[in-house]
Amino acid sequence: MAYALQQLINGVTLGMIYGLIAVGYTMVYGIIGMINFAHGDVFMVGAFLSLITLTALSGFGISSVPLALLLTLVIAAGIASLYGWTIERIAYRPLRGSFRLAPLISAIGMSIVLQAYAQITQGARVKVIAPQIPGGWQIMNMDGFAVQMTWMQMVIVAVTLIVLGIFTYLVSATPLGRSMRACEQDRKMAGLLGIDTDRTISLTFVIGAALAAVAGLLFLLYYGVIDFFIGFIAGVKAFTAAVLGGIGSLPGAVLGGLAIGLIETFWSAYFSVQYKDVAAFSVLIIVLIFMPTGLLGRADVEKV
């Protein structure tokens, strides 16, 4: 019981990080219908940017941890946004209106470029960072097993919820969100009605990249270890989460992220750590057999 509760806490924390990345996938998919394979690598670059900013800030003598983290969050998200914008501009915009597989290959190419870029500029060795927020809150102690929620986990959950709250407000109640939803429904019609679709798509990438950078910072703080390859694994998991939740659906992405996080954690805890990826992917396949559009996805009407 206590053990399960502990796993629940761990699983939700991990799921939050996956959810943040998955939102970026699902948003881009909803608006231009492409799998942005480079998104996982934007997350990785975000983690590196966070590492650099955090180290630089401590070098400048900013010793207050909350202030340093807040500044890192803003700076890393800002620079990562620029990455998102540039990638869209270079690799995807020229292919707008081209056939479906062209942007996919372009995205895979971009993902390879970003990985090589991080490896060349920052080296292939893993980077380790000391825990920034030690300690935790012991919820209960049952039969000698202490259930603990670390401050770090609380920060992760809180930051994710705040960021997702801002994001939900942005999508549901601002003119930008309205244009985004309009472009998602019918890009041509939205264009005819005077929405600058190119700008809206650019901003979608910018927001997605910012969310991925936040996830990168949280990942860095939680695990304390990053290298140039984390983007692939996290990206595949987050994409799985997005598909599981129903690709194109924003609440679905978060739900899928939580589901993948929980499955992985519980499987590792009760069965085997080695097969946690197999468990997550198997659940995806099983869910898709019975619900071919994911948990919260809409079935699209098909016309000949």
Partner: protein, 440 residues
Amino acid sequence: MSTPMAANVAAVARSSPAAAAFKDAALSALVALGLFGAMLGVLTEATPAGVVLVPRPLLLAYSVAAVFAGRLAWLLFRSRTPTTKAYAGNRTVAEALQRSGRFVAPALLAFAVALPFMAGRYGIDLGILVLTYIMLGWGLNIVVGLAGLLDLGYVAFYAVGAYSYALLAQTFGLGFWTCLPLAGILAALWGVLLGFPVLRLRGDYLAIVTLAFGEIIRVVLLNTVSITGGPNGISGIPRPTLFGLKFSADGGPGTFSGFFGLEFSPTHRVAFLYYVILGLALLTNWVTLRLRRVALGRAWEALREDEVACRSLGINVTVTKLTAFAMGAGFGGLAGAFFATRAAFISPESFTFFESAIVLAIVVLGGLGSQLGVALAALVMIGGLELFRDLQDYRLLIFGSAMVLTMILRPRGLVSGRTPSVALGKRQEISAELVAEGRG
């Protein structure tokens, strides 16, 4: 680039091209400064005491200057040459390539057959590598190019073939030629196994499930240590024989050199392996070309164009999809068995998503459905990767950039024309823009 934007740029460029280009380049340099500022400007050095930052201002300055100069040069160059002319040139190249297609294919084949007599050991090895990818590309082409089913986990079948051969050979002592068809059949069975659950899925849902399938296979291979050796892989996989003749140095009557009375040379085995993969690749090509003419092949292409229309015409979509998966997987398995016997050592390291991505890129860069295009794309990509081997990490940077650039310049691939498999009267080439590429 969108038309109003292009018109805008053109208008500004007319008023004062140099000033506008200068402004644009300065803006690009500013963006580059933002992008590279942290990643290039600072190196994170992992020391025992934690991460230490090492500033690299010179590198950053050079990179930003390079972006500025590059952008300026490109803009000035473009303002001198009218855009229409560039496009026309591009089209002539494409048309010339298509017209010469009839001669390029036999020429390539002749070159492929003659290669072992002309090239040295390194050249033949490179030829084997390229041919392996050509075969994988042709195999995946059945699934993606003909049936229009997006498969991101093709490497799984390559792995199944390789491990099937390795395990059959080591457990039961079977030879390469017995195991080769078995490996193909086993991989085809796995293809059907994957095909079943994904029958109802479309497009990108299919993509993620196949990707997941590829990862599952890799993780299973990595962790069933007692059978597959886990991360250590399987070594000492037997080499193929020519009708029972071994390629070994002892020179007895049971060996190739002894039987034919030749001086032993390790090149014999390499050349033999080369012809084996050439034969296997040509088999894949031949089967594909033949299948395109019968009902099944035409059903694949119909499925790619429109699944609903297909169903309403009475085509059995289940059988069509499953056979496409099985055929593609079977050829992947044959290539895998060949890979195992050539390398004599396999480990899960060789079967990562990166391989799937390369093969898919070969198929798309080649122009989906075009056999010649796939061969050319494999030659260019794998040859290019080998060519830049000395550049180490930069190799992948160049490789990825080349993928992006090729898609931007030729989104429909190198050979983007389509010739119908069956036609009344004259078989006429049509543009690739007129066919879909699988929403299935």
